[in-house]
Amino acid sequence: MDRIVVQAAAFDAGAEIASLREHDASVGAVAAFVGQVRDLNGAQGVDVLELEHYPGMTEASLAAIVADAHARWSLRGVTVIHRVGPLKPCDPIVLVAVASAHRGEAFQACEFVMDFLKTEAPFWKKETADGVSRWVEARERDDIAKQRWQGAGADEATQDKATHDKATHDKATEGTRARPRRA
């Protein structure tokens, strides 16, 4: 039920979400993230964002991230579509959609996959504005976002507690809810 694709063409997020949840009555929730190209330079010039990747390693890296998500949470299906090649502002660039029985797993796994995709999958962005090209530099806050999930110690304890509090709350409002399995 997982679908991992690297492609130049646009994707139809609605159709992808529908195919994740249709025909599977065990799915109670789908959380989806769509990333799109921002116009970082305001109205000046025509911006192009060129996405380079490492064919082979990219797909393997995405598959490993999705497998890790399955190991941590009970998921019914994960779709990851990442575009490559030249893109323009407002073009959708990435889709991560996660189907699960309840919303907690779907929300968390969707964010987990994005955090690891941004720091581990071998894609590189090159931006062109007003005829000047530059490679986009990695941001420290993306590494920090990933580290939340790796935590031993205090971070994980906080996360576990939040998960537990949420699960307790959900039990009161939604009936029994499976807790995320932690790696």
């Binding site: 490492y54 393997a60 990442h82 999958a121 071998p122 530099e137 990695a138």
Partner: protein
Amino acid sequence: MLIELRFFAALRETLGVAAERVEVPAEVATVGALRDWLRARGGVWADALDLSRPVRAARNQRAGQPDTPLADGDEIAFFPPVTGG
């Protein structure tokens, strides 16, 4: 030992090379030693692969570390920190 080198993104452009097959001496036994060996070419190689730069590596398309061992026929890639998503 025969190594298939791959370079990506800014590193590929700076070095002017996307792929290269090299015969490396047996003492170049790790990913880190290979980076040192390439840096010894001087010029843009010394600068682009300087240890102060955040260069990442992969061995046979899996993330590698400086102490990752090399084997004959390996595909070793060097590239900048990733920026997808």
